[in-house]
C-alpha cells in the first residue's frame, strides 16, 4: 500500500500541489524535494540504471561532438586539442562565403532538395490508387513488389544505375540506339545528374512511402463513403472530398518531417554518383564537407561548413512548422 501512495505523490506534475500537501515546512522545500528524490531513487534505482547505457551513448556520441563544433570558430590543431586551439572567430565562415564555389554548392543543394520535395505527392497519389483496389491478390502483389526496392542498399542502387546507364553496354542506351537515337552520356553529363538522383530515389521509395498513407486511409469512416454514394458522388469525387481531406493531417506532418531532413537528404548516394565530370551539379554542401574535412584534413573549415548547413536546416524546419501551425491545425510542436 505504501508503494501506491508514493506513486500518487510523484504523479503530481506541478509544485503547487506539493505545496498544498506540505504547507507547514514551506521554507524547507528544497530539502524535502531532494529527500523525495532520494527515496524515489533508492526504491527505483534499477530503473535509473536502465537509462545509463543509452544516456552515456547520447552524451558521448552526440553531445561531445556538439561541444566539438566550436572548432568551427577555431584554428584547430590536433596537438592542442579542441579546447587548446586558438579562437579565430568567423574566419572560416567568411572564407566559405567568399569562395567562388559557395554559390554553386548552395544552389546545387537547394535545387536537388526542392526537386526531391516536388515529388512529395507521388506516394500519396499512389496510395490513393492502391486504396481504390479491392483487397485481393492483385493489391497484395503490387504492394509487396513495390515495397521491395526499399531494402536495396545505396551502393547496389548506384551500381545498378551505373550499369543501366552505361553509354555503350547499358540497357537504356541500347534501347535508345535501337529506336534510332544516339547514345546519351547520362553519368558524365551534369544536366542529367539531378534527374538520375531524384528519379532513382522515387523508384526506391515510392511503394514504401505509401504505407503510412494507406494506414491513414484505412481509418477513414466507411459511413462517409456510404452517405456520399447515396448522394450520387462518383469515385473521383469521393476521393477528392473524403479521402484526401481525411489524410491531410498525416500529409502535413510528413511534409514537415521531410523538410526536417531537407539538407541532409541522400548525401551518401550523391557521393557515390558523383564524378569529376558531373560535379558542376553534383557538388552539394555535405559532399564538400566530406572532401575538405576528411579527405583534405581541414577539420575546422569543414566543421564551419557543416554548422552552416545545420543552422540552415533548423531555420527551415522551424519556419515551416510555424507556417503549418498558423495555417492548419497540424504541426510537429
Amino acid at each position: 500500500m505504501g508503494v501506491r501512495q508514493e506513486k500518487v505523490e510523484e504523479f503530481v506534475p506541478l509544485d503547487d500541489k506539493k505545496k498544498a500537501l506540505k504547507k507547514p515546512d514551506k521554507p524547507k522545500k528544497p530539502k524535502t524535494k531532494f529527500k523525495d528524490f532520494k527515496k524515489n531513487f533508492s526504491q527505483n534505482w534499477q530503473l535509473y540504471a536502465f537509462l545509463l547505457p543509452a544516456l552515456s551513448f547520447f552524451f558521448i556520441l552526440h553531445y561531445i561532438p556538439m561541444y566539438g563544433v566550436q572548432i568551427a570558430f577555431k584554428d584547430f590543431f590536433a596537438t592542442m586539442g579542441i579546447w587548446g586551439s586558438p579562437w579565430i572567430g568567423f574566419d572560416h565562415f567568411e572564407r566559405f562565403f567568399d569562395s567562388y564555389y559557395f554559390f554553386r554548392i548552395l544552389k546545387n543543394t537547394l535545387i536537388l532538395n526542392i526537386y526531391e520535395l516536388a515529388l512529395f505527392p507521388l506516394p500519396i497519389i499512389f496510395a490513393l490508387m492502391l486504396n481504390e483496389l479491392k483487397n485481393g491478390p492483385f493489391k497484395k502483389w503490387s504492394q509487396t513488389l513495390t515495397y521491395a526496392p526499399h531494402f536495396i542498399s545505396v551502393v547496389v542502387l548506384v551500381g545498378m544505375i551505373l550499369a543501366f546507364l552505361d553509354p555503350i553496354t547499358g540497357l537504356v542506351n541500347n534501347a535508345i540506339v535501337w529506336v534510332g537515337g544516339e547514345s546519351v552520356p547520362f553519368l558524365t553529363d551534369p544536366d542529367w545528374f539531378r534527374h538520375i538522383f531524384v528519379w532513382s530515389g522515387q523508384w526506391q521509395a515510392l511503394g514504401w512511402g505509401t504505407i503510412i498513407y494507406l494506414a491513414a486511409l484505412a481509418g477513414v469512416n466507411p459511413e462517409l463513403h456510404e452517405a456520399a454514394k447515396v448522394d450520387g458522388a462518383s469515385r473521383i469525387q469521393r476521393i477528392m472530398h473524403i479521402n484526401i481531406p481525411s489524410i491531410l493531417p498525416t500529409v502535413v506532418v510528413l511534409f514537415i518531417l521531410n523538410i526536417g531532413n531537407f539538407m541532409a537528404i541522400g548525401f551518401e548516394k550523391v557521393l557515390l554518383l558523383q564524378n569529376s565530370l558531373n560535379s558542376e551539379t553534383s557538388d552539394i554542401i555535405a559532399t564538400f564537407v566530406y572532401e575538405t574535412g576528411l579527405l583534405e584534413g581541414q577539420y575546422s573549415f569543414a566543421s564551419a561548413i557543416g554548422l552552416f548547413e545545420s543552422a540552415l536546416n533548423i531555420i527551415l524546419l522551424v519556419t515551416v512548422n510555424w507556417i503549418a501551425r498558423k495555417t492548419s491545425e497540424n504541426s510537429l510542436w
Binding site: A54, P65, M66, W141, S142, Y147, L187, T188, S303
Partner: protein, 303 residues
Amino acid sequence: MKKFGLSDKAFDIINKILVAIITIVILYPLIFVVSASISDPSAVSTGRMWLWPVDITFDGFKLVLENDAIWLGYRNTIFYTIVGTTLHLLVLLPCAYALSRKELKGKVLIMWFILFTMLFNGGMIPTYLVVKGLGMLDTMWAIVIPGLVGAWSVLVARAFFQQSIPDQLVEASKIDGASDFKIFIRVVLPLSMPIIAVMALFHAVGLWNQYFSALIYLSDENLYPLQLILREILIVNEASASAGGGGGAGGPAGSAGSFVEQVKLAAQVKYAVIIISTLPLLIIYPFLQRFFVKGVLIGSVKE
C-alpha cells in the same frame, strides 16, 4: 463537372491498369538484374537480352564465389550486423522501458536530452574526431557504435511499452517483491516480442546496407564490410574504367579481344554480385514484410 461522365467501372479499370504499369516499371530493373546475372555477357551488353535470360551461363557467379574479398566482406558484415543489433537492443530496450514507467522522475528532461539530438548534431567532422579520440578507428566498434541508438527508436519503443504493458501487471509483480530488473526480464520482455522484432530488423537492415561509416572509419581492408567491397566492384572500378582506360594491358592487337572479353565478364560479375549481396534481404523480406510495415506504423502513431 466533367468527372461525372467517367463511370465508376471505367475508373476501376483505368486505375487497375495504372497500378499494374507502375508495379511493372518498379519490378523491371529487378528482373533485369537477375536475368543479366545468368545470361551470356555479350547478349546483355548488345541488348539482345532484355527481359528473360539468354544463353544461360553461371560464369559470373563462379567468379564472384571464387573472390576471397567478397567472402571476407560477407563474414564481416554478418558479424557487424549481429553484434550491432544485439548491442542496439541491449541499450535501447531498458532505456525505453524505464522512460515508459511513471515512477521515473525527470522524464521530461531526459526526453529532451534525447530528442534534441534529432534537431541538432555536431556534424561529420566533430563526430569523426570523437570516434578517433576513443581509439575506435580501424576497429569494428567504429561501425557498430556511432549509430547505436537513435532518438526515433527510443520514441517508438517507449510508445510501445506505454501502450502494451499493463501497469497493473508491473505493480502486481512489485508487490510480490520482484525487482525492476527481474520484472523487465521475466514479465516485460516476453510481452514485447513484436517491438523487439521490429527494432532488430530495422537496425539489422541498416547495418547490412551501410557503407559510409566503413568508408570514413576503416582503412584496414580485412575489416571491410560487404558494402564497401561492393562499392569497389560496382562503382570505383566503373569510374576508373570509363575515365582512365584499361590500365596495364599488354600488346595492342592481341590483347584487345581478351580485354573486351574481360570488360564483358566484369559486367556480368557486377550483376552476380548485386544478387549475392542482396539475396539474404530479398529472401527474408516476404516473410517479414508485415513486421516492417508494423514498424513504420508504430513510428507514425507517435508523430
